[in-house]
């Protein structure tokens, strides 16, 4: 485009292309050459530039802030059915706690949709920083399963404390997920981009089964803020088990 006769001006369309850096260097150079010698085209270019900037500025001043983008990994939760292993088939009471960014309405709606639960169940924040979702407590046959999407080759598993009883078991599988079985006390579960945080108490008794896909090379487990234990993929695949019962003094 743009083969100008000596007395032909640059079209509006080509001025916008020039402004936006469209076209090859030759086109840009031809427009530039014309503009250097043409006052009307230069003025029109300035007008289009001023209007573009003015619109950008107005839009920036009047657009509502976007919700926090930085969550999330949770994709689906569900109850295990009859096929669950025996250790999953006792009373379950679990809180799933998702991060503060989920307070943002669209993110919450999205998560609610993906979790397959009503948005009202996710709605009311109970604390300024976190909000909790009590899932159906005490379904006798069920554990609570939360799927997540690891965002790296390492998954962090941060457990608040040792417990009265229970363990973590690892397994390899297609779908990354945690299945929680609480027999006593309470625990909550926070899904973060880097992994999972389990908010248990020393009085609780709960088992956690953690399923990790092949892409995850290792899990870094911390209990009670102690030194992390690194579990490589091979030991995950071999069904590594970590006892969460309080260590003997």
């Amino acid at each position: 485009m743009l083969t100008l006769l000596p007395n032909e001006h640059v079209s509006d369309g080509d001025l916008v292309r020039f402004l936006d850096g469209e076209g090859d260097p030759a086109e840009q150079e031809r427009t530039d050459a014309h503009l250097r010698g043409c006052q009307p085209c230069t003025q029109r270019l300035q007008s289009l530039r001023r209007r573009s900037r003015g619109l950008s500025l107005l839009l920036a001043q009047t657009t509502p802030a976007a919700p926090e983008p930085d969550v999330l990994a949770a994709t689906r939760t569900g109850k295990r059915g009859q096929a669950s292993p025996p250790w999953l088939r006792a009373a379950a009471a679990v809180l799933v706690v998702l991060s503060a960014a989920l307070l943002a309405e669209p993110v919450r709606a999205w998560v609610a949709d993906l979790l397959g639960i009503g948005q009202t169940e996710l709605a009311a924040p109970t604390q300024p920083e976190l909000w909790t979702t009590p899932l159906t407590p005490s379904a006798p046959e069920a554990g609570t399963r939360v799927q997540f999407t690891p965002t790296g080759v390492e998954v962090e598993l941060d457990i608040a404390s040792y417990q009265a009883g229970g363990a973590i078991r690892f397994e390899a599988g297609e779908v990354p997920e945690v299945t929680v079985q609480v027999q006593g006390g309470t625990a909550d579960l926070l899904v973060l981009p880097s992994g999972i945080r389990i908010g248990n108490t020393p009085e609780s008794t709960a088992d956690y089964q953690v399923t990790l896909p092949a892409g995850v090379r290792q899990v870094r487990v911390r209990v009670g803020g102690g030194a992390p234990r690194v579990i490589p993929a091979a030991r995950v695949a071999a069904g590594e088990r970590l006892d969460l019962a309080r260590p003997m003094r």
């Binding site: 289009l48 976007a66 983008p69 999407t149 965002t151």
Partner: protein, 164 residues
Amino acid sequence: MDVAALFAEHHTALFRYLARWTGDPDVAADAAQEAFVKLLERPPKPGETRAWLFRVGTNAARESERTRSRRSRLLEEAPDRAPMGDAPLAPDARLAAGERRRVVQQALAGLPERDRTMLLMREEGFSHREIAEAVGTTTKSVGTMIARALDKLAAELRLDEEDI
């Protein structure tokens, strides 16, 4: 597909674009959500994700009944083709933020959908080729149409004033 990473990368811009496009943050949030859910269901080819999300989000917003009702309400509120520079409507610094937002939304709502889409996609840094594909025109004609749309908005939003 790393959904969390894609969400982190694209959600802010998609929401911003849709909020401007619809004039309604709630509709924008719903449409953005729908786009991401569809992304999980039917992922586009790598490299096309961004344009794909904006296209699907725009379609979702268009289909929203709420968008339509809001748009018609905004148009009803519009002045009888305000004379140029009509002081109470100009989005200058004296106007409260809410009023300024309303004026900008009203001006955008008054544009044909295609013009609005083009201006707002340009605002997000899409190339003329991507814009052309989104609205169904040729790459070459995008510049002309953008110039015309800017001219339409100029008087209504006082875009020619130095100190907006």
